[in-house]
């Protein structure tokens, strides 16, 4: 511990020492940049069929580095669009679930008493709700609009964060600075937003990072079952599903999106683990 450094600086120093997490962060940055830039710079697009080159295998010559799909669309572009959609869904839905989870957990933990126990009882009950079946039903309700899918997934994945935030809030409530704030007349919403939530930021960042890959897998699962992103738009899940139906003749159509999906989830998990060690060094 070097007390001269601030909170962020210390966390960053600790994170830097975790080589796997740094590598994971770099890989994610590279994927994010690639999926933003490659479709922008490419002269082709992800949706126009090209019947003169169907289902090409990956090759460095001829311009289609990752081959083409059965409609002659460039796989590199489709996979990059898939990464875009998957990352966008992962980040948006995680933000929604973090917002709900932090608010729910902080209010329950700070209010205590009957409010706390009834709010946490609700969380317990929601834990017994079969998740995926419900999201499947929700996709029917919202039609097939992608942005509603973000919201639907965010709406059902806030329970873990709520529990963790509540636990942390209960611990924070005992600290002197909260007492000091109370003595000087702060209470209610101001107390939660000004004093409780800012002190939860570390743990919230960690769980937000760990929520992103679960959300990405969730969306991929829905798209795999044909309930998520609709063609010609692609997400990594729908690409895996399309590839699975073609795997006999063209295995690269399955393997390439599967590798990207796996890479993104591993990297977020590693990064999350590293952030946990960086922000919460006691919790080893």
């Amino acid at each position: 511990m070097r007390p001269t450094h601030g909170f962020w600086r210390q966390a960053f120093e600790r994170l830097r020492r975790q080589r796997m997490s740094v590598a994971a962060g770099l890989v994610l940055t590279a994927i994010a940049l690639a999926c933003l830039l490659i479709p922008m710079l490419s002269s082709s697009d992800y949706y126009t069929p090209h019947y003169e080159y169907l289902s090409r295998t990956p090759t460095l010559a001829g311009g289609h580095w990752l081959g083409t799909d059965p409609l002659g669309r460039d796989m590199l572009l489709r996979v990059m669009w898939g990464c875009r959609i998957s990352l966008a869904i992962g980040i948006t839905a995680s933000l929604i679930s973090v917002l709900i989870g932090v608010a729910w957990g902080a209010i329950a933990g700070y209010a205590g008493g009957a409010t706390d126990s009834s709010m946490m009882r609700a969380v317990d009950i929601l834990y017994s709700v079969p998740y995926v079946p419900f999201v499947i039903v929700l996709t029917l309700l919202f039609g097939r609009q992608v942005w509603l899918l973000f919201v639907a997934i965010g709406l059902v994945s806030w329970l873990d964060i709520a529990r963790i935030v509540r636990g942390q809030t209960l611990a924070l409530k005992q600290r002197e600075f909260i007492e000091a704030a109370r003595v000087s007349g702060t209470h209610g919403a101001a107390m939660i937003t000004r004093h409780i939530v800012p002190n939860l930021i570390g743990i919230v960042i960690v769980y937000a990072t760990l929520t992103i890959p679960t959300v990405i897998l969730f969306e991929a699962l829905l798209s795999f079952l044909g309930l998520g992103v609709q063609s010609p738009l692609a997400s990594l899940g729908s690409l895996v599903a399309d590839g699975a139906s073609e795997m006999q003749s063209h295995p690269h159509l399955l393997i390439i999106p599967a590798v990207f999906l796996a890479l993104i989830t591993y990297c977020f998990n590693y990064l999350g683990d590293g952030l946990r060690d960086a922000f919460d060094p006691r919790d080893r």
């Binding site: 017994s128 709700v129 079969p130 995926v132 079946p133 419900f134 699975a244 795997m247 989830t265 591993y266």
Partner: protein
């Protein structure tokens, strides 16, 4: 403990009621109805079909009717499979899920526990690092990626096993689905077992057993195994939710006639009763397995007191 079990059983009722209500309301709020996709039929016939299934009544009466049927254990008629009740569909499909799920759990327990203990005993060796690295890959690779890849390797390329179908549940047809379902759990259990074995093997009572000169096999099987299993038990409760998700995927990849597939097609065809019925069954399974996990917890670890 009996009082505890009864209490938990009773507290499951409001949970299941919530699950049924949510599913019912959301499904009915979704656009489209169960008989919309039919070919052009006379309005009179459409009306009589809807009257037969009480779809012409106001929603709250349908809801109350559904709940009172549910209370008697009757999940209602399926809209999509005319003349078949949801109870019959579940009775037909659920054994498939049970077989695949049970095979997956048994597989995951045996292999996962063995890998985990082995890694813990050889802590720091390349075998330990290797198996834990593979475990991380296993945890983050979803079933819907693993299942098609297994088909690609073992059915398409090697021709060792069939790529799908059920055929009355023959062992040959059971292997790939249950392995696909089990793989993430093998990885998860291996990691849990490694951590808990390392902790237990460092505790004083194991040191005593070692200093008595007991052979390692006896130390592990007689003394260490029971306390190392405790974290596993609390994991198996929540694991059931993941198994349900996995079974929906595995059934659609391998074409198995389980309830997961009925659920999917039912949802797409707005088969209200079928979807709500299966959702309630899923909810009941989650509640039941969490309860079983807590009871097992108390049985394995005498320090746990249930209230």
């Amino acid at each position: 403990m009996l009082r505890y079990a009864v209490h938990r059983f009773l507290s499951a009722i409001p949970t299941l009621l919530l699950v049924a209500t949510l599913a019912f309301v959301l499904l009915h709020a979704a656009p489209g109805g169960p008989f919309d996709s039919d070919k052009r039929i006379l309005p009179a016939i459409q009306q009589s079909i809807e009257a037969k299934y009480h779809l012409d009544e106001p929603l709250w009466r349908q809801y109350l009717r559904y709940l009172s049927d549910l209370g008697r254990g009757d999940l209602g008629p399926s809209f999509q499979y005319r003349g078949t009740s949801v109870n019959e569909i579940i009775a037909q499909g659920f054994p498939v899920d049970l077989t695949v799920g049970a095979a997956a759990i048994v597989l995951a327990l045996i292999i996962g526990v063995a890998i985990g203990i082995n890694a813990a005993l050889r802590r720091g060796s390349s075998e330990d690092y290797g198996s834990m690295a593979i475990a991380i890959v296993g945890i983050s690779t979803p079933v819907f990626v693993v299942a098609p890849l297994l088909v690609l390797v073992f059915a398409v390329n090697l021709h060792w096993l069939p790529a799908g179908d059920w055929v009355g549940g023959s062992v040959k047809h059971l292997v790939l689905p249950s392995v696909a379902l089990a793989l993430p759990y093998i990885a998860y259990i291996a990691r849990l077992m490694r951590a808990s074995t390392i902790e237990v093997m460092n505790s004083p009572f194991i040191r005593t057993a070692r200093s008595k000169g007991l052979p390692l096999r006896v130390i592990i099987l007689r003394h260490a195994l029971r306390p190392t299993l405790t974290p596993l038990v609390s994991f198996l409760g929540p694991a059931i939710a993941g198994l349900i998700t996995g079974s929906i995927v595995v059934e659609s990849v391998f074409g198995l006639p389980g309830i997961g597939r009925y659920f999917l097609t039912g949802a797409l065809n707005r088969d209200y009763t079928l979807v709500v019925g299966i959702t309630v069954l899923y909810g009941a399974l989650i509640v039941l397995f969490n309860l079983l996990a807590d009871l097992c917890y108390a049985l394995i670890d005498p320090r746990v007191r249930l209230r």
